[in-house]
């Protein structure tokens, strides 16, 4: 089966969810073609770059006419069908032809499924699948559902009318999508992210007694973005009021200044390190050093790093953000603390440190077992194969 995967850009090596999804589908005999706004050196499958808009209008007009001529010669019926569908949706003449140009590359392909990696990538591409007689599916992710509609109300109204199937990475996302108009007549499937347990695993006897250590290493792997709640973690570190705790943040992002200021104002320069971007292949060393993993996000669709940390038997503390409640079983595989409350978070960290070795080891073992059982690559592969196979005509 030929699956066209539409993304903003081909996945980087660190985007494990997408990489394992592509690998799994290929393993099951599917051909994957990625359509993305930017091309880059991506080895796993073919990547087709979408047309870009040139800022010089005369050049852009020439490019558009060139594409239109190619489309009319190569696929006249698909072109007409696409323009008709756009017209039915009430789009203006100009918008219809703009969209034809923007989607020209995909329209030329014969594909069984057009799968959008994010709901936001469907905007202005809602009619591609129907025009080429393919099925249309989407994966909904945290930003798509928790943030984008806040600034763009009703942005998915057209989408829900066109879609054949929805994949969600968690229950909470699906629930939230329903608040924005997704109804039960559309087929839905929850496929959790997966962890490569051959890389992220716990060596027996690797962990020491946390409460007897001179320095306790806390870790977060995340983009430096407000939604990750890192400012609250820094405040919690301040409330811990102990030189014993050392906090490392792995990741880069637009809010470096915000966090650098917080570290400076809270006098945490000796206790906190922001190490910036680290390639996924090298993240393992940070996990190995960590005694406790913290993901105190304001919202998450799910969270891969929380799975990776648990898979390595690291004591994991998360906020009660929707997706995180599905990533961790409170008091069984880790701990859940109400969000926006750095005092509660610091108290929870202190409480964990005071637990005895036996209690902590039980939590670690539970986490490792749960990850192996519920979030394995094999299970993800099987479910994605089923997702595309069972609904094809």
């Amino acid at each position: 089966m030929k699956i066209g995967l539409i993304l903003n850009r081909p996945p980087s090596k660190s985007e494990t969810f997408l990489i394992s999804k592509i690998k799994g589908l290929q393993k099951n005999g599917h051909e994957i073609i990625i359509f993305a706004n930017k091309n880059c050196d991506f080895q796993l499958c073919k990547v087709v770059a979408m047309p870009v808009v040139n800022r010089f209008i005369p050049i852009q007009i020439i490019k558009m006419f060139y594409q239109y001529i190619l489309l009319i010669i190569k696929i006249p019926f698909v072109t007409i069908k696409f323009l008709k569908l756009e017209k039915i949706d009430g789009k203006s003449f100009r918008k219809r032809w703009e969209n034809l140009y923007l989607n020209a590359k995909i329209l030329k392909y014969k594909i069984d499924w057009v799968h959008f990696g994010f709901a936001t990538t469907t905007i202005r591409k809602e009619n591609i699948a129907k025009a080429i007689n393919a099925k249309m599916s989407i994966s909904i992710r945290g930003y798509d559902i928790f943030i984008y509609p806040l600034k763009n109300p009703n942005c998915y109204n057209t989408l829900w009318e066109k879609i054949d199937k929805v994949h969600s990475i968690s229950n909470c996302l699906l629930k939230k999508a329903k608040e924005y108009g997704l109804d039960d007549t559309i087929k839905q499937s929850i496929i959790y992210p997966a962890v490569d347990t051959s890389i992220f695993f716990r060596k027996k006897g690797e962990k020491q007694l946390i409460n007897s250590k001179d320095s306790i290493e806390l870790l977060t792997v995340a983009r430096l973005h407000w939604i990750k709640g890192l400012e609250y973690v820094l405040q919690a570190i301040k409330y811990l009021n102990s030189e014993k705790f050392n906090y490392t943040i792995v990741g880069d992002g637009i809010e470096y200044e915000r966090l650098a200021l917080a570290i400076d104002q809270l006098n945490l320069t000796n206790n906190v390190q922001m190490v910036g971007y680290v390639p996924h292949s090298k993240i393992l060393s940070y996990y190995k050093e960590a005694d406790m993993y913290i993901q105190y996000s304001l919202e998450e669709g799910f969270c891969n790093t929380v799975l990776e940390a648990q898979s390595m038997g690291i004591l994991t503390v998360v906020s009660d953000a929707s997706g995180l409640k599905e990533s961790v079983n409170n008091h069984v595989t880790g701990w859940i603390v109400p969000k926006r409350d750095p005092i509660l978070l610091s108290e929870k960290i202190k409480e964990i440190v005071s637990l005895n070795h036996k209690e902590l080891d039980k939590i670690r073992n539970n986490a490792v077992k749960r990850i192996r059982k519920k979030f394995s690559l094999e299970s993800q592969e099987y479910q994605f194969n089923k997702f595309f196979n069972e609904d094809l005509f």
């Binding site: 600034k151 809010e255 915000r258 917080a262 104002q265 304001l298």
Partner: protein
């Protein structure tokens, strides 16, 4: 000596890059332009009629074609009218700022070279390295105003910027700081304490004198007001959490935020996540008069910022007679004496904010009146435009007296 300098009209370029600049900059321009001080404004933006013959605006076009014509005109002007400046510029070309676009660079610097001021008063520290050539090539005096992110946190996060500040700050003729706190930050980068002049923000008294909150009734729900753009530095994530907690305790609050930009994703998310749609109102008001009217209609003004120099809106609220609660960040401790002329809470501390909010809500008329009177007295005494005008004129005269 000072008197002699005063006799000659000093030409000051107040540079922020954008026309109009922030409220502070616009107040400054209007305030200092007098018979003895001519103000030049350079930058991109709107045409503004200041109705003051001592203010001249040299606007740089934004359109590529117009910009090219503008550069040709400026180059011809330089060649024909000011050839000696062109020779200096060529001789010391290595000081000319580096830029990815020559067109942009020329359109920025040529009007300034053609209309060279005695003092180039830079409003944003990050542009200091760019403009320092004016001192190196033409001996123009440089004043830097220490304001906003450029001094408060950018050099903390950007080590290269900190390095540049350490190189340039000791060589600036004078610095202006709106608070002692912000002045002390410049000293971390080598600024000379004796070359930092603290001059507070000032009010547009002509405008604000017509606004006074005479009403003593406290509204239900309690009307809380913040004026500030949507940016993380403004600390809305803390104020919204505090309001959420109080509403949960059945304390009704209506929180209004006046901003000149659209709500950020973070703000919209917090409103949605905390279900505060019915309690928070966002307004985009076009005039200062409308802002003052909203201050009159409110019960309390709140500044939840993580960092501030001195908030102009706080001074305005205090002057109008609206009690102020502010975080104890930056220069705010220099304006507000907790419990005397306003209230402070611990920056980033939601519980501290909740406690102060409750305390202010429960003030009786006498207590509230005392706070308001004390605040107005403070503003009249320290933020009086005549005093501030004299302070700036003194700063310019002192700068003219600095030997290069």
């Amino acid at each position: 000596m000072v008197r002699k300098v005063l006799e000659k009209k000093i030409i000051i370029a107040i540079y922020s890059g954008i026309i109009p600049g922030s409220v502070f900059i616009e107040n400054l321009v209007r305030l200092v332009a007098t018979k003895s001080v001519k103000v030049l404004i350079f930058g991109k933006g709107k045409n503004i009629d200041y109705r003051n013959k001592n203010i001249t605006v040299y606007k740089t076009p934004e359109n590529f074609f117009k910009k090219s014509i503008f550069i040709i005109y400026q180059l011809l002007f330089l060649l024909i009218i000011r050839p000696q400046r062109l020779i200096k510029l060529i001789k010391k070309y290595k000081y000319i700022p580096k830029s990815s676009s020559i067109i942009d660079m020329l359109s920025k610097i040529l009007p300034v070279i053609n209309h060279l001021p005695d003092i180039f008063h830079i409003q944003w520290a990050k542009s200091l390295p760019y403009w320092f050539f004016l001192k190196e090539i033409f001996g123009v005096k440089i004043i830097l105003s220490l304001r906003g992110s450029h001094i408060n946190y950018s050099p903390i996060a950007d080590k290269n910027l900190a390095k540049k500040y350490k190189y340039f700050f000791p060589n600036i003729d004078y610095m202006h700081a709106v608070s002692k706190t912000i002045g002390s930050k410049a000293m971390l980068y080598g600024a000379d304490q004796n070359r930092i002049k603290i001059i507070f923000s000032c009010l547009n008294h002509d405008l604000i004198k017509n606004y006074y909150k005479s009403e003593t009734i406290i509204h239900k729900p309690y009307r809380l007001l913040t004026v500030g753009r949507f940016h993380w530095i403004k600390g809305y994530h803390y104020s919204l959490t505090a309001i959420y907690n109080l509403i949960k305790k059945n304390i009704p609050i209506e929180y209004t935020i006046i901003s000149n930009n659209l709500p950020s994703e973070e703000f919209l998310f917090q409103i949605s996540d905390l279900s505060l749609h019915d309690n928070v109102v966002v307004l985009n008001l076009s005039s200062q008069e409308e802002v003052y009217n909203k201050m009159i209609e409110s019960d309390c003004f709140l500044i939840p910022s993580i960092e501030e120099g001195i908030s102009n809106a706080v001074i305005e609220s205090m002057s109008i007679g609206l009690p102020v609660i502010s975080s104890d960040c930056g220069g705010m401790r220099e304006v507000i004496n907790h419990g005397e002329n306003g209230f402070l809470f611990k920056s980033r501390d939601v519980i501290s904010l909740e406690k102060v909010l409750l305390m202010v809500m429960n003030l009786n008329n006498q207590e509230r009146g005392d706070i308001i009177s004390s605040a107005q007295e403070n503003i009249l005494k320290n933020y009086n435009s005549n005093i501030i005008k004299n302070e700036f004129h003194n700063l310019y005269n002192m700068t003219m007296g600095v030997k290069n």
